[in-house]
Symmetry: C2
DNA sequence: TTTCGCCGGTAAACCGCTTAACTGAGGCGT
DNA sequence: ACGCCTCAGTTAAGCGGTTTACCGGCGAAA
């Protein structure tokens, strides 16, 4: 492979000049520029990114830290990752995936190697130890997600409030008054501080209260199996329910299956709306799931952009909250007209978090 | 961050000695080793991978080239990628994802940068231009997939013959005699040379012939929608069919949905078996799909291993073909006893590729 | 005792590029 | 005509390691 020295010799200039031209860091006359460019073309020169990285202390590589042990790498994650990779490449950066634990120890190890200029943090917890690690190491980073304190950390995230509000309004306007949420399982120690679950549940409680709706929340992990069980339990415990919102992607699929298995027609008997999902997954059920589409492509891109801005010393990207948008399918319909139960305009069933 | 020079000074040795110890490339007495190791511990030293890369001409980074435009990055791909990333990290390598076109031009560009030591190629075509690019660049690589000619290229792949044979035997032994395959759509120019589809279809034709079965093959892209349509068409054209094998993951989901929509009970009227799938996806249908599980984790790991062997100059890993293993679900049952049609012990319907 | 080879260790030349400091040739005001 | 500034280029010192050539000392062989 041709080196910069070769190019410089061939063009009859010093290698510094070549470097200046390549990086556009110092003016070069049209004549020399032409000579250098020709030399590069003739030699098929391509600058060595490793040498560049060493000399400039910028590798132009960023990492996405993904806690693969704690969180499944599913379709949504794939969207985040690929869109981030593309955004990075557009700015002449490489993206590597770091499947590291969310306690930060592996992350610290990797940061020490000096391979990356910055890190995009996925699956952020409300109090995330990885952030301390990054700050200690002095490595720039951006969050896809948010911590507890809305300190000035650069981040982008789903707008859970808007998403939940839109979702509730949608089913409300269809006529539903007996809703329930199949949420994340915050009692699982791995997730008790997992932002999306906490925020969605909080938002739901708020919105439900605002709409004067009962608050029925069933915890559930993000697996099809868990979704089935949760749905079956839900309709058993709260037979008055006419519409279910499901937070998790795979749980939503399971919920539909579970309802059908239990003999309920969807959406005839019960409507289902999935809160965070990608279209490919939604298309998997029959009928196709009505869902709020996870803004994975946007967030992957915005998160990367936020990080790159930092790295380039540009105007920082203000934190952005992107709502999941409604993607109508066929699992939400008007509730079947029911005879109101005598003596109770609102069912007794009502759960509240302690 | 502490550098090697710092460590050497503190330990009272030359930096070369530190390097030798670190790389285990020259013997070091126990005493000096101890001193150096203590110095490293005290300083929290971590060797800079970029400097190392430049000096040693080995970056310890490998890329997975994935034609993201042509192929969707789905659950199976995610499995390949994450298992490859883990295998790489185990050997102290980093894995980057390169979503490049499958024509090789972007790949050439990236290779020129000298960022990676080697490449794992995904979604290999029977005649894949990227291979020429890699060979020209002199970059070591391994294939997950195979080209047409079984030249000595290091590769791992799905054992389509065994997979199809196992699948057919399974439904055959359940009593089915009227099978059909919902295959890939080889008429689509993007896929006419796509290994898995070509090989599966070939294998199916062979196996079906060996079992004396009619050969019914319906082309279909890998989307839920296409799967629905294909299944509906299939049962319309070939009502005698009692069992369907579906090559593609999402198409399989669609097929089940399509059959149900058309009023067929699965598996009561028709059995469905998916040929390449991950369990998460299979759990999404109701009843749960019977499927052959894509050996994604194994292949991702083996492919990476094959590449790393090359890079380390170790005994090359012999090409491996891994079959997808049967993962029983609930969509394959014995065929319902039917009155044989008068005057035809075998239906006329039979398609063959030109 | 001399010599040879081995062994732990050192010095220094890179690896290919970036960048701060410097040079030298105009152009310009006075 | 002189000094001064500007501007395109050059020189050379790193960046933090790897690796080759070399060196002194010591034990074993002669």
């Amino acid at each position: 492979m041709a080196t910069m020295r070769d190019v410089a010799e061939r063009a009859g200039v010093s290698i510094a000049t070549v470097s200046f031209l390549l990086n556009d860091t110092k003016p070069v006359t049209a004549a020399t520029r032409a000579r250098i460019e020709q030399a590069m073309a003739e030699l098929g020169y391509r600058r060595n990114v490793v040498a560049r990285a060493l000399a400039s202390r910028r590798t132009h590589i960023i990492a996405m830290a993904y806690p693969a042990l704690e969180h499944r790498f599913g379709m949504s994650t794939a969207e985040f990752f690929t869109s981030a990779a593309e955004a990075a490449r557009k700015e002449d950066y490489h993206l590597v995936l770091w499947p590291v634990g969310n306690d930060g120890v592996e992350l610290r190890e990797l940061l020490g190697q000096g391979l990356v200029d910055g890190v995009v943090l996925m699956e952020v917890q409300l109090d995330d130890p990885r952030i301390d690690v990054l700050q200690e190491a002095g490595t720039p980073f951006a969050l896809i997600g948010r911590t507890d304190e809305l300190d000035g950390l650069p981040h982008v995230d789903i707008d859970f409030d808007a998403t939940v509000e839109d979702a509730v309004r949608y089913v409300y306007e269809k006529g539903h008054r007996e809703l329930a949420l199949i949420s994340g399982d915050l009692s699982d120690p791995r997730f008790h501080s997992y932002g999306p679950w906490v925020r969605t549940e909080d938002a739901y409680r708020r919105v439900a209260a605002a709409y004067g709706l009962p608050v029925v929340v069933v915890p559930c992990l993000d697996t099809t199996q868990a979704g089935k069980v949760a749905a079956e339990r839900l309709v058993a415990d709260h037979p008055e329910t006419t519409a279910i919102l499901v937070l998790n992607e795979y749980a939503a699929l399971g919920a539909v299956a579970g309802l059908k298995r239990a003999g309920h027609d969807v959406p005839g008997d019960i409507s289902v709306l999935s809160l965070l999902m990608v279209p490919e997954t939604a298309a998997m059920t029959d009928p196709e799931l009505t869902m709020m589409r996870t803004p994975g492509p946007e967030l992957g891109q915005l998160g990367t952009e936020a990080l790159l801005r930092e790295l380039e010393g540009a105007e920082p990207l203000p934190p952005q909250l992107v709502p999941a948008k409604l993607n109508p399918g066929a699992t939400v319909a008007a509730p079947r007209a029911r005879r109101p139960k005598a003596g109770a305009d609102r069912p007794a069933a009502r759960k509240a978090r302690p």
